[in-house]
Symmetry: C2
Subunit: 192 residues, 2 copies
C-alpha cells in the first residue's frame, strides 16, 4: 500500500520565533484526490528526567500561556538556532538553568514527536542520574518565572492524578522512572 | 511567588480547520516586563490503547505530513465540533473507524497536553480491553490511508527502538501497558 502524500504547493502563513505555520496542498495516495494539511514547524526540544541521589524527581513549576495555568514539568527547553546535533549540550544547559544541577551521565531515553498529527516538534528525553550542584549556575531566561520542586515517585503519581502534572513528556518520564525502578536491568525503552 | 502572565492583547494570525494561531502580548509576573507568546489552539483529541484478547496492541500505520514519513500509532483522532464532553464517544468512533473494533469497557488512563509550551491540544488516552468486532464498521475519513497492525509488547518496544513508533501518545500507551502487565492491580497511573 502506498502512503505518501505528495506536496503540490505550500503556503507559508506565519513565521514566528517559536514556530512556523504552513498549509500544504497534497496529493493523496491511491487516487484519493487532494487534501489540505495545516502544519506547525518547530525547531525541537530537549527534556530531562533528573533524579536526585535520594531518588526524587526534579520538577519545575511554571506558567503555561497556552493553557492559562501553572504546570509541573520535568526540566526542558527548546533547541536554539544551530543546536541541531547538539541536543545533549542543550539538555545540560536547560537542566543547569532551571535546576542549578548538571550531570556527568546523560542517557537518551526516547526520541519522539509531541504532536505528530500537525506538528514536527521532536523531543529528546534524557535521564540524568549523577546530579552535581553547580556553584554559579547559568541564569534562566529573563521571561521565565519558575520554581524548583523535588518529588518522590509516589508524589509525582499523585500529581498526575490531581492534574498538577498534565503534560506528555513529564508523564512519560515518570512512567519510565517507575519501569526503571521496577526493573533497572531492563532498560526496556531506551532507543537510539 | 506569582506565576500568571496577564494577556495585554491578542493578535489572531490564522484560523484553520485543525488549529488556530495567535500571538499574545503578555505582562510577566514579578515586574519582569512584557513578552510575546506564540500559541496554537486545538480542539483536542482522543487516543486508545486497544488490547486484543491474546494481549496484542492494535496499531495504525499512516503517513504524517508534518514529518514527511509513515508512523505507527495507537488509534486516535481529533475531537469534532461539539464533542467536548463526549470524549468517550469520540474514542469509540475513532477506534471503530480505524480498527473495526469497539468495546464495552473504556477506561481513562491519562488526560494530558501534548505540546504544553505553545499548544493547548488536550489528549484523553483510554484503555480498551474487551474488544468486540463490528460487523459493518463506520468507514474511516476519506482523506486517510491507514493499515492496521497487531504487535506484541516486545515487538512494540522494538519498534520504539527502531523509530517506527515515534510519537508521544503511543510511547505513553506502551509504557502504560508494560506497567499494567507487570502490576495489574496497581492501576497506578489512572487519573480522574
Amino acid at each position: 500500500m502506498n502512503f505518501e502524500e505528495k506536496t503540490l504547493s505550500r503556503q507559508e502563513i506565519f513565521k514566528g520565533h517559536i514556530f512556523t505555520v504552513a498549509v500544504d496542498e497534497v496529493e493523496l495516495p491511491n487516487g484519493l484526490g487532494q487534501a489540505q494539511r495545516e502544519l506547525v514547524f518547530h525547531k525541537g526540544a530537549v527534556a530531562t528526567l533528573a533524579i536526585t541521589p535520594d531518588g526524587k524527581l526534579l520538577l519545575v513549576k511554571q506558567y503555561r500561556k497556552a493553557i492559562e495555568r501553572v504546570s509541573l514539568e520535568i526540566p526542558a527547553g527548546k533547541l536554539e538556532v544551530g543546536e541541531a546535533g547538539s541536543e545533549e549540550a542543550a539538555a545540560l544547559r536547560e537542566l543547569e538553568e532551571e535546576t542549578g544541577y548538571t550531570t556527568d551521565k546523560l542517557e537518551l531515553l526516547y526520541d519522539f514527536y509531541s504532536a505528530i498529527g500537525f506538528c514536527n516538534e521532536r523531543i529528546r528525553l534524557y535521564l540524568a542520574e549523577n546530579l552535581i550542584k553547580v556553584e554559579n549556575p547559568r541564569e534562566q531566561d529573563a521571561d521565565e518565572t519558575i520554581e524548583l520542586i523535588e518529588m518522590t515517585l509516589e508524589e509525582a503519581k499523585t500529581a498526575i492524578q490531581s492534574g498538577d502534572i498534565c503534560d506528555a513528556k513529564t508523564i512519560m518520564g515518570i512512567q519510565y522512572y517507575e519501569l526503571m525502578r521496577g526493573d533497572r536491568h531492563g532498560q526496556a525503552f531506551t532507543n537510539r
